[in-house]
């Protein structure tokens, strides 16, 4: 049911408690059990080897998930219900993601080495300067900052988090404005005045100086020369790349501060930014990547709920394509300009832009050369005041963050002593900046400059003429997407879009995070403009969930200063088991030998479901029965029963996994002593329409006969297949084999008629072997292939259009010469 609550801080906290039903926002940020000072990056330099971030479900134990692949939990971020896993030696990140693909996690993400804004392509190296260089800072002319300063506003009292590489916090033109402590998110240690620099890149120093270099006789000055700078280091000093772990730590620190509390999470908070809810008033994020990240989206929402103004760079690839976090709702996204009032050649463009600001040949502070020589600064003198020209939307963003600081100072409500009591919200700050921006073409909005170039003077004038209570506030929307049949079930991976009806701003799209800390099935739009919208919801994503999507749309009106909750029930068409009811031997469904049948562990009328099938077996013949769950979280088990109910064979988990298999499926070999009809009973501990499984039944014909084929196995592919000596197999048979040495290829030849076939590999030993399966036609073309279907096992389903001989190639996953060995069972069945 919709609810509307006036957005006062106390009531907001109450709303949050309602929203964050599963959130445990207690005390300090999660402590780390292990940390790694230096990271090895993958060959593309895009993420750290040896780590994986997982988003887990409520009730799911990250330690169990980690153990299933031999990993350990390095960090558990309880508020985000996400954890950092340290992978076992030799396990690649794609491999780990693949292994965990069906483990019920909300998401897995690599520990990204996120690209920061460019090293200036044609910028200048740091250089020594001795004189005021204000004349080189064309940004002040373009942004009309002098008018703001003339109004007596410099950003004094406003804390700007420099969520960036480690800034040179003792640079003579920054040191007087630095507010301690900051956080080095990479080492997870506080930054104080005496903390040595981490020896990383220049980037954060140039960002900091653009926002708030001090107004003095050194160099130039920032847009808000009176504001405070809080170092929030998020980079890996050895690679210069940003690190998602550090990004999260520093983002939580921006909200909590050193006491681990915020006004929202603790009864008493000791270190709030004056008048604010978080530790800082503004966070500048001059970084991004081009893929949607639920972890980053969650973090943005967490900071926005603390009324932290989030300013970010649009990106430096001049397309309109997606960028994270720039496209997320509630942020201020900034493109780069030249002195000719044009977008720079490199700046991203598109409908996500809010503002533009100087981003080429920006004259700003840079990390002093003496710091790279002596990170503790011991060799630095007061004459070391390095400045640089630098390019990138990375510097447009802090120019606007500085302007935001001016607006906040100008508009803050103060008590009798002049102390801040209340601050404008992120939406108010954005609105004041966009409504006063300078649009060179005189129009309203365009995809090059957004609402225009930020005009600090005009923005401050409007802020001074406004009050927090009277200036229109932003709005929020929390969408709860649930299953129509069972509103207690939140739906994951549902696309949720908010389409403004008045043409103001672009459509913003997010997805629901099943089990995120807000609540299952929720999608948040915070600090958006009030107004009339179409809320459009569809999902869940078919390819990810196997369900047929449903869609819904409705009008929503978002009123200023309120967060509205909307529950959307989707009539999701999940798989309907055609063999129901089959809860007893009497109702058993007959199966054809050599077939695969699909079913669900779901019955709407009982606590659990069980399914019975019958097969005709011949004495002294061995059969292979295999169950693979394809979605849901059922722990399936299987029994083979005689007609009188005697248990002839049974299995719960075919492969025993240390720490518990996140998705334990049964399989068994069965050799009847009499020719008869037997009954297969499948049952599970869970009753859900998402509990879809396949049952394969086939005749086990024995073991492979080496040698049986050659080829090359690498990174999940098999190339150069040689079909000579392939073991013959029929399309209703199973066979056992063994990868005796890593990289070995076992080849099997099967005659297929036009039909849909399932080829399955099951392994008995944890991670040994980690199979790869490739189906070739007789000309050597790949028909189907799979590395991991269910953890380490491979499985393919494909349609044969042309009758002929096909070849099934089995090997282990080989990467950089490393692989695995062990026995397996291969089966071929027909999907009726």
């Amino acid at each position: 049911m919709p609810f509307k609550i006036r957005l006062t801080h106390i009531l907001l906290a109450a709303v949050l408690l309602a929203i964050m039903t599963a959130c445990s926002l207690t005390g300090a940020p999660a402590t780390d059990r292990a940390d790694t000072p230096r990271l090895e990056l993958d060959p593309t330099g895009s993420y750290a080897e040896g780590f994986l971030i997982i988003g887990y479900q409520e009730g799911q134990d990250p330690d169990t998930v980690a153990a299933s692949i031999g990993a350990i939990v390095a960090t558990d971020w309880t508020p985000l219900r996400a954890a950092l896993l340290e992978l076992p030696d030799g396990m690649s990140v794609p491999k780990a993601r693949s292994l965990l693909a069906s483990s019920g996690l909300r998401y897995t993400e690599p520990r990204l080495a996120i690209e920061q804004a460019p090293v200036p392509a044609t910028g200048l190296d740091r250089q020594q300067v001795d004189d005021p260089e204000y004349g080189l800072q064309w940004m002040h002319r373009q942004m009309n900052t002098e008018a703001a300063w003339a109004a007596g506003v410099t950003g004094a009292g406003i804390r700007i988090g420099i969520h960036d590489s480690f800034m040179d916090h003792r640079h003579p033109d920054l040191v007087d404005n630095v507010f301690y402590p900051g956080l080095d998110g990479f080492s997870n240690t506080e930054i104080t005045a005496s903390t040595p620099h981490d020896g990383g890149s220049d980037h954060g120093t140039s960002v900091a100086g653009t926002a708030a270099a001090t107004g003095n006789d050194i160099g130039g000055r920032g847009i808000a020369p009176g504001a405070s700078l809080v170092p929030l280091s998020i980079s890996n000093p050895s690679s210069f790349a940003l690190d998602t772990v550090a990004i999260v730590r520093a983002g939580l620190f921006a909200a909590h501060g050193p006491d681990g509390c915020s006004a929202l999470s603790c009864a008493s908070d000791t270190d709030n930014a004056p008048g604010g809810l978080g530790y800082v008033h503004i966070v500048n994020m001059s970084w991004g990547s081009n893929g949607y990240s639920q972890l980053v989206k969650d973090l943005m929402d967490y900071m926005l709920l603390h009324d932290i103004v989030l300013v970010t760079s649009a990106g430096n690839t001049p397309t309109q394509s997606f960028a994270s976090p720039a496209w997320y709702p509630g942020l201020i996204t900034v493109a780069a300009t030249t002195p000719s009032d044009e977008r720079t050649t490199f700046s991203n463009r598109g409908l996500h832009l809010d503002l533009a600001a100087p981003g080429e040949a920006v004259w700003t502070t840079t990390t002093r050369a003496c710091i790279f020589a002596t990170p503790d600064g011991s060799s630095c003198t007061p004459d070391d005041v390095d400045y640089t020209f630098i390019n990138g939307t990375s510097f447009s963003s802090p120019a606007v963050a500085g302007a935001a600081a001016l607006v906040m100072e100008a508009m803050a409500e103060r008590d009798g002593t002049g102390a801040f009591v209340s601050m404008p919200t992120p939406a108010q700050v954005r609105s004041i900046l966009t409504s006063t921006a300078f649009q060179p073409d005189g129009g309203d909005y365009n995809e090059n400059l957004g609402h225009g170039i930020a005009d600090a003077g005009a923005a401050v004038a409007l802020a001074q003429a406004s009050t927090i209570d009277s200036y229109p506030d932003g709005a929020g929307l929390v969408v709860n997407v649930v299953l129509a049949d069972d509103p207690t079930v939140g739906l994951p991976k549902v696309g949720v879009s908010l389409i403004p009806l008045d043409g103001g701003g672009p459509t913003k799209s997010v997805q629901t995070a099943d089990g995120s800390f807000w609540s299952e099935g929720q999608a948040l739009f915070l600090a958006v403009d009030p107004g009339d919208y179409v809320l459009a919801v569809s999902g869940p994503h078919e390819a990810s969930t196997g369900a047929d999507a449903d869609a819904h749309s409705q009008l929503v009106t978002l009123l200023p200063g309120s967060i509205r909750g909307v529950t959307v029930a989707l009539d999701v068409v999940t798989f309907t088991d055609p063999n129901e009811p089959n809860e007893a031997i009497a109702d058993a469904r007959p199966l054809t030998m050599g077939s695969t049948v699909k079913g669900t562990f779901y019955t709407p009328d009982a606590a659990t479901d069980e399914d019975f099938f019958s097969i005709d077996v011949t004495a002294d013949t061995t059969y292979w029965l295999n169950v693979d769950t394809s979605s849901g979280n059922a722990d399936a088990a299987m029994q083979v029963l005689a007609a009188d109910g005697t248990v002839l064979a049974s299995n719960d988990d075919y492969r025993e996994t240390p720490g518990g298999d996140p998705l334990p499926d049964p399989a068994l070999e069965f050799t009847p002593t009499t020719t008869e009809t037997v009954y297969i009973r499948l049952f599970a501990d869970s009753n859900s329409r998402f509990n879809v499984y396949d049952l394969d039944v086939s005749v086990l014909v024995g073991a492979e006969s080496e040698p049986n084929g050659t080829g090359t196995s690498n990174q999940g592919n098999i190339t150069d297949p040689d079909f000579t000596n392939a073991d013959p197999l029929q399309s209703d048979q199973a066979i056992t084999g063994e990868i005796e040495t890593s990289g070995e290829i076992d080849m099997f030849a099967v005659a297929f008629d036009p039909a849909t076939y399932v080829v399955d590999l099951e392994t008995l030993v944890n991670l040994n072997p980690d199979t790869v399966l490739v189906v070739f036609d007789s000309s050597g073309e790949v028909v189907a292939s799979n590395d991991d279907y269910d953890l380490q096992d491979s499985r393919v389903e494909f349609e044969v259009l042309t009758a002929g001989t096909y070849y099934l190639a089995v090997s282990d996953y080989v990467s950089s010469g490393q692989g695995s060995t062990g026995p397996y069972t291969l089966s071929v069945t027909t999907r009726p």
């Binding site: 895009s46 460019p118 392509a121 190296d125 397309t319 292939s785």
Partner: protein, 556 residues
């Protein structure tokens, strides 16, 4: 670096032309004449050339071209950026000025009696119209006629450069480059085969150290300095450079082929949003194998096609907004067993239309080497332009001996421009089976068209919803496709390979067109949009259209 689809060389030239070339080449390397300007300018020659706004960039018309110290001797560039005027014999400084533009100067331009001196130049728009348009002052520690002292251990030589700007409170020295035989910019890609280096960024006093490899005798040395307003000074001095490495007796280079490449509105800057480091070929294979994980921006672990082609020292080409860059990539074979079989240098000559043959410069075989027995050269000089046939020849040179390749000709294409019409950017409530409409202008013989569709909020899992690449006009009319010389309409999932056959309703997607045009023989290529470089020139055109759209309720 890899060969594009190449054409067989067309033997436009004949041996006589090649022999004639040798003469003109020798002239360029003739001993210095008296360098002082003649106070009484009776004998004259001609300076001609063209002005473009950046390396491989577009023409600048209306620029005043003047000789410093001769106030009455000036001319103006025409609509194609060309200029030509008669100038007294001597060595002159030529200045290029225009309102709204930075000022460029070239010092050391030599004019011989009755001869024509070609001088192309870059003149950029002023970065900051409020800043001074005065070219920086460049002072070198070397002068015309000097013999460079080559260190036998490094086969290199050094000299000092001083740069001064008129008003350091408003502009500062920017970057300084030094090139041998050619002027050099800062783009690592376009300067890949230009001997020399970027000397420094931001300093006023610099020391350059250049490799002598490939040079044995007099050559021109070009020092280029920019200030932060893009004012540019190029100083040309003639020096004697003797490489320590002695080349083998030359044989004729063979199989000279190439591609003229035109990028429309390209911007390649790197960092944020840089395309996944996956080559177009890998992506095609990924689509074919239905392995869409290759599109996940952070989950792939693939070799970097980029690193093969992008020099570590710099970025790739970048144009201004709505501008075009054009260059010619040349490839040729030179048979050798060991490096000792290589000549001292390769020297590349070019003829535009029926014009004079000119030397574009010489390059050490080690700088030109691409692998196997293949070598390369990139002509990104200002004169390369659409519709003007360029004929090339490569000489292998050791000492006075040289052997010439057969000539190769190519005519660069003009801009190819694509518009992503439907679904439009920001369009809401589209069909769940949309037809992707694009229109384009500037089509050559054939097109190479594709569509990529991305799921906006499922990156990392099903990032690529659908992709089809490499369509040409032969598929016009097939399965509802319209694909002509003017545009294309491609129904969603026309080949049945989409992740989901019908797009989800009320769901956000992005689509981007791939649009390349080329001559039938693939000799000339013009790229409108190809973010992932499916066509395979080495890096993508990254600022093509990229439309986000939201599907409707699924009823259509």
């Amino acid at each position: 670096m890899k060969h594009l689809k190449t054409r067989s060389p067309i033997f436009v030239g004949v041996i006589i032309i090649a022999l004639t070339l040798l003469l003109s080449a020798c002239e360029l390397f003739a001993p210095p004449e008296t360098p002082e300007p003649t106070p009484e300018p009776t004998p004259t020659g001609t300076i001609e050339g063209n002005v473009v706004n950046r390396k491989a960039g577009t023409a600048v018309s209306g620029t005043t071209v003047a000789i410093v110290g001769l106030p009455d001797t000036q001319t103006t560039t025409d609509a194609d950026g060309n200029y030509s005027f008669e100038v007294p014999v001597g060595t002159w400084t030529v200045e290029f000025t225009q309102e709204g533009y930075a000022t460029s100067r070239v010092a050391g331009v030599r004019v011989a009696e009755g001869a024509s001196t070609h001088q192309g130049v870059i003149q950029s728009a002023a970065f900051d119209p409020a800043a001074p348009a005065v070219a920086p002052t460049v002072t070198l520690s070397i002068a015309d006629g000097d013999t460079m002292t080559v260190d036998p251990d490094t086969n290199s030589f050094s000299f000092d450069i001083e740069v001064a700007v008129e008003d350091p409170e408003l502009v500062r020295p920017y970057f300084v480059t030094a090139g041998l035989g050619q002027s050099r910019g800062t783009s690592g890609y376009l300067n890949q085969f230009v001997p020399g280096q970027t000397v420094g960024l931001g300093q006023t006093s610099l020391t350059a150290m250049l490799s002598a490899d490939g040079f044995n005798g007099e050559t021109t040395l070009h020092v280029v300095a920019y200030d932060t307003n893009f004012n540019r000074t190029e100083v040309i001095v003639r020096v004697v450079v003797e490489s320590v490495r002695e080349g083998a007796a030359p044989v004729a280079p063979t199989s000279l082929v190439g591609n003229a490449i035109t990028f429309n509105d390209v911007g390649v800057f790197g960092a944020l949003g840089v395309p996944p480091q996956v080559s177009g070929r890998q992506l095609v294979e990924a689509i074919g194998a239905d392995d869409l994980t290759a599109f996940a921006p952070t989950t792939t672990n693939v070799p970097t096609a980029f690193s093969e082609i992008q020099p570590s020292e710099g970025i790739a080409a970048q144009s201004g907004l709505d501008e075009v860059v054009t260059w010619v990539d040349l490839y040729f074979d030179y048979t050798f067993s060991t490096p000792a079989d290589l000549p001292t240098a390769f020297e590349v000559f070019r003829q535009l239309g029926d014009g004079e043959w000119v030397s574009l410069g010489r390059v050490s075989p080690f700088l030109a080497y691409l692998g196997g027995t293949t070598f390369g050269f990139r002509d990104a000089t200002p004169a390369v332009s659409a519709g003007v046939e360029a004929t090339y020849r490569v000489d292998a040179v050791t000492g006075e001996d040289r052997q010439s390749s057969e000539p190769f000709s190519v005519t660069p294409l003009g801009a190819f421009d694509v518009t992503a019409d439907a679904p439009a950017n920001g369009e809401d409530f589209t069909s769940v089976l949309p037809t992707y409409d694009m229109s384009y202008t500037g089509t050559a013989d054939e097109v190479f068209i594709g569509v990529l569709v991305f799921d906006r909020v499922h990156a990392g899992e099903n990032f690529l919803e659908w992709g089809i690449v490499g369509l040409d006009t032969s598929v016009d009319g097939v399965a509802g496709i319209r694909l002509t010389a003017e545009g294309a309409s491609i129904p969603h999932n026309v080949d049945g390979t989409a992740s989901t056959a019908v797009l989800q309703s009320f769901h956000a997607y992005d689509w981007t067109p791939i649009a390349v045009t080329h001559t039938t023989d693939f000799g000339a290529i013009s790229i409108a949009a190809d973010f992932y470089d499916f066509f395979g020139v080495g890096f993508g055109v990254t600022d093509g259209p990229w439309n986000t759209f939201l599907t409707g309720d699924g009823s259509f």
